[in-house]
Amino acid sequence: MSRGLRLIPIILLAWLVAGLAWRLIKPADPAVPSQLVHRELPAFDLPAALPSKPGLKSTDLASGRPRLVNIFASWCVPCAGEAPVLAELKRRGVAIDAIAVRDTPDAITTFLARNGDPYQRIGSDRQSEVQIALGSSGVPETFVVDARGIIRHQYVGPLTAANIPGVLQQLAAAR
């Protein structure tokens, strides 16, 4: 066997080690983005999660002005973490609706009393059905929906203060 061929196993090993080292240093992003971004919202009609607020229908979201749809749950810790950011967005006049995943009215009431309530409507999604229909893979997630009910952007994971300018820009572009 020629000299060059003998080097093949070593080259393969080096390639493998380099690949493993690269992924250890820079882990892959585990977020699964929804394929529905830039497409129309799927039709859904969720009952009200609280007696004091309306539920959420897909037709509510083609309302002539861009809105945020926040997917949250009272049992989700990062959702409490992003609450101040949603409150700030509401203060700046952003319309926010919500889908509460696998939740009960009592738990939602306690959660909103503790963390503030930025929502106009809250739909109750007790079996994650609409969450799956939207291509959402967890809580919290936030969708930017334009004036015609087309999804323009998806934020996977909690929003932070650093996201506020981006969200406002997305909403302005979705008019």
Partner: protein, 135 residues
Amino acid sequence: MKYLVLVALAVAQPLLADSNLPPAYWANRQLPNPQQEAEAQALMVELRCLVCQGQSIADSDAELAGDMRDLVRRRIAAGEKPSAIRAWLIERYGTWISYKPTDEPAAWPLWLAPIGLLVVGAWLIRHRIRLRAKR
């Protein structure tokens, strides 16, 4: 103090990031029709769990996986084809959600690898036989 820490560890409860609702009806229940249940099982082992990435929804204890099993079983019970359910999920989550390899260009190395390895193997064997014949 040491004992106090030990006692505290012994009685500590894990913090569960789970909802307080029970699993969906068909999450952990088989369909009464064995043929439909077999179809549902075959599909569920090929669908990837969004929470415990790397497990199938058939293997995962995550609540979202339970809700997806419920969705698969309900749709199969309603007469929907497994391929249609898979396509519906791929439309939402991309091919990521399915373990079944597709024919898109990104998957070509996967299909070509066995052929490539066979060619390399055949070449190696030929080389060996020639070496032996020379001796």
